[in-house]
């Protein structure tokens, strides 16, 4: 039987905006408001209540790693703040079994004048670690952060990268049963981020319960088996991480795997109009999530109208860091001739084992290349997106290596090896 580490029942949290809950109240305002209210019976300024969390209920088992996803303002951080007791819920309750460690910010309470060693103990105490636990973990913490030589130097002399590494190292050695983490992997350089991810995976594997907030869907699918999607403070979906991430990317990321322009506002000019763009899997059905091993099709539907001109269908793919992964166009000779009017469906097939994991964003165009320049008949920035996932069965370019894999592409190459001499 599995045991619940965390149960939330109807958690709600409201804030009052304006009126009496203004950020910088002054005593004078409070006094004068009291006088007004008593004197003339005038109503207090109208309060606007904003619900940051609405009736949130879930149960998380011991050892589960759960990702919290949603747009900015969806209530992810508020939920973490309620669960870590920083702020109280307005209604509902939660039961938490064991100690909770929360990492909403790296290096909370670090003091620049104190040495690295002093800050490790202070930060550890702030995170709820006992002194003897910090002492026991001091060597691994320092080694993880790579600041051995500077341990007795004031932290203000550290580079910002060193400060962040030291702070994360302390947090990573928290030994609480439940760990709440808010987007802290977005710090440090790429190599340190890889080590953090590895550490996070270790946490989840060691039987501890982890709740992770991240905007990086690749991290969510890698680290979490389950994800909860929040929108406007309420749970929209709760299930397997891949499915929930797909739902989020499909409907929430601003773009989806499918876009259509049936009306007159379709992108294009007097020669051709783009009617729809779809991301399809090998069976030809629209799919927001693509197995890294399978090929993915970008299907463009366009209508040739008016006085047709020759043009070429063209796509550009970017990843979620904005890197231009590649551009491609159809080099079939048919596009050198002027097409006849009608509706065309053309699909560009991106082979499997080429793109890296993560979000891919597609910008399609219909272009005419004349010497010296390109004429864009139709173009849509970030028309559709899809998510490349690795099911982690060891048969992809990452093999059994489970940590972050840099670069926009990840081809599965053929390697040849010859042995000579000896």
């Amino acid at each position: 039987m599995s045991v619940a580490a965390l149960t939330a029942e109807g958690l709600s949290k409201s804030y009052r905006i304006g009126g009496s809950a203004d950020r910088y109240d002054t005593l004078r305002e409070a006094l004068s408001r009291g006088v007004r209210r008593r004197g003339r019976g005038a109503p207090a300024p109208a309060d606007r209540t904003v619900w940051a969390l609405r009736d949130v209920s879930f149960e998380i088992q011991i050892g589960e790693a759960v990702g919290l996803i949603g747009r900015n303002g969806a209530g992810k951080t508020t939920l973490l703040r309620v669960l870590s007791r920083i702020t109280e819920p307005t209604a509902g309750c939660a039961h938490v079994a064991g100690r909770v460690g929360s990492l909403l910010e790296v290096g909370t309470g670090f003091h620049p004048e104190l040495t690295g060693r002093e800050n490790v103990f202070l930060n550890g105490a702030i995170l709820g670690m006992r002194k003897r636990d910090v002492e026991r973990n001091l060597d691994p913490i320092v080694e993880f952060a790579g600041v051995e030589r500077f341990l007795d130097t004031p932290v203000k002399r550290y580079s910002s990268g060193m400060q962040v590494r030291l702070a994360f190292a302390v947090a990573a050695h928290l030994e609480t049963e439940i760990l709440l983490v808010d987007e802290i992997l977005a710090v440090g350089d790429a190599e340190f981020q890889r080590r953090c991810l590895g550490k996070m995976e270790g946490l989840a594997d060691s039987g501890r319960t982890v709740i992770l907030v991240s905007h990086n869907m690749a991290n969510i699918t890698r680290l979490c088996s389950r994800a909860i999607l929040l929108r406007d403070g309420a749970i929209v979906e709760d299930g397997a991480a891949g499915d929930v991430v797909a739902r989020y990317l499909g409907g929430e990321h601003g773009t989806a795997a499918f876009r259509t322009w049936p009306g007159d506002d379709a992108p294009g000019d007097e020669h051709v109009r783009l009617r729809s763009v779809r991301v399809v899997d090998e069976t030809g059905t629209a799919a927001p999530v693509i197995d890294v091993r399978h090929s993915v099709g970008i299907e463009l539907v366009f209508e040739v109208i008016g006085e047709p001109r020759p043009f070429v269908p063209w796509i550009a793919i970017f990843n979620d860091q904005g890197a231009h992964v590649f551009s491609a166009m159809d080099v079939d000779p048919r596009w050198q001739h002027t097409p006849v009017r009608g509706t065309y469906t053309t699909t560009a097939w991106v082979p499997g084992n080429l793109l890296n994991e993560g979000i891919m964003i597609v910008s399609p165009s219909l272009n005419t290349f004349v010497p010296g320049k390109a004429i864009r008949h139709a173009h849509v920035d970030e028309a559709v997106s899809f998510h490349v996932v690795d099911p982690g069965q060891g048969d992809t370019a990452r093999g059994d290596y489970a940590q972050a894999w840099p670069g926009p592409v990840r081809p599965l190459l053929q390697w040849t090896t010859e042995r000579s001499g000896g």
Binding site: D25, T26, I86, H95, A97, L122, R130, S206
Partner: protein
């Protein structure tokens, strides 16, 4: 990192708080954090200063010189039979602690806002640590007092044994104001502006530059409502062997201080649930 084999059976319930919970056990559980917060502020306090901890003695010493010239020599205020300089310095010790403790604890929550909004720690530790930190300055100032007393040939008597009691009395008095002000400052940022006035006014209604006996008999009861009256009177008596404070004066002062500290603590507990949302 070891796996967690046995789930902790300790269940924490998170829900909107009703009524009042003092949660004293939690304070004990976080005692190490109190130690580290105090250590942080003590270590940081005189970093990058030339005179360092000498400032702790220099401040009351400077005040002593000024008070001795103005109130002792020019105004010729009485000093209960001890040299005026010693009289003033013995009063300035608890007063300097009081002023620093109230000021620092009042600003402690807002000054450590990310410890309130980014992590859960018992918030009351922040003003409490700020109450403890100036005790280090007080210790330094005590050393200087020893030098002064040796210089004037004044030796403490058996009354010195009562000093810890009055020190505790001073701490309770600082807590009475510091806890409430720190909580008020989260919501009303008037506190840092009002505080210097308040402390300046309190200086003159406390027996720092004059003895308690200077106050007319019929106003003694009113005077003793200021807890610092009892604290300073007690410090002088136990350090310099001046006239013993009246039991009624010290008693009333002590009752006011303890009631104030309890009320302040309860107020803190009542409003702290809103700290993270309002700071």
């Amino acid at each position: 990192m070891s796996a967690v084999d046995t789930p902790q059976q300790r269940i924490t319930v998170i829900r909107p708080s009703r009524g009042l919970s003092l949660r004293l056990g939690e304070l004990w559980a976080y005692r190490e954090l109190l130690y580290f917060l105090v250590l942080r502020d003590v270590k940081v306090r005189y970093k990058q200063t030339v005179l360092g901890a000498a400032w702790a003695g220099l401040q009351p010493l400077t005040s002593m010189v000024i008070f001795t010239v103005i109130f002792g020599r020019l105004a010729k205020l009485p000093s209960d039979g001890v040299p005026y300089a010693l009289f003033a310095y013995a009063g300035l010790l608890p007063w300097t602690y009081f002023a620093a403790g109230v000021a620092q604890s009042s600003l402690s929550l807002v000054g450590n806002a990310n410890l309130v909004t980014k992590v859960y720690v018992p918030r009351i530790l922040l003003p409490l640590s700020a109450i403890v930190v100036p005790l280090v300055d007080l210790a330094v100032a005590f050393v200087l007092l020893g030098v002064l007393m040796a210089g004037y040939g004044v030796a403490p008597g058996v009354e010195l044994l009562a000093l810890p009691l009055f020190l505790l009395f001073a701490i309770v008095t600082v807590a009475a104001l510091g806890l409430a002000f720190s909580a008020m400052n989260v919501r009303y940022r008037d506190v840092p502006y009002a505080l210097p006035f308040l402390i300046q006014i309190l200086l003159y209604v406390s027996p720092v530059v004059y003895p308690v006996s200077f106050v007319p008999e019929r106003w003694q009861w009113l005077y003793s409502l200021n807890p610092m009256a009892g604290v300073i009177d007690g410090f002088r008596w136990s350090l310099l062997g001046t006239a013993a404070p009246r039991v009624s004066t010290v008693g009333v002062s002590a009752v006011v201080a303890v009631c104030g500290a309890v009320a302040s603590f309860v107020y803190f507990r009542r409003v702290e649930r809103h700290f993270a949302d309002r700071i």
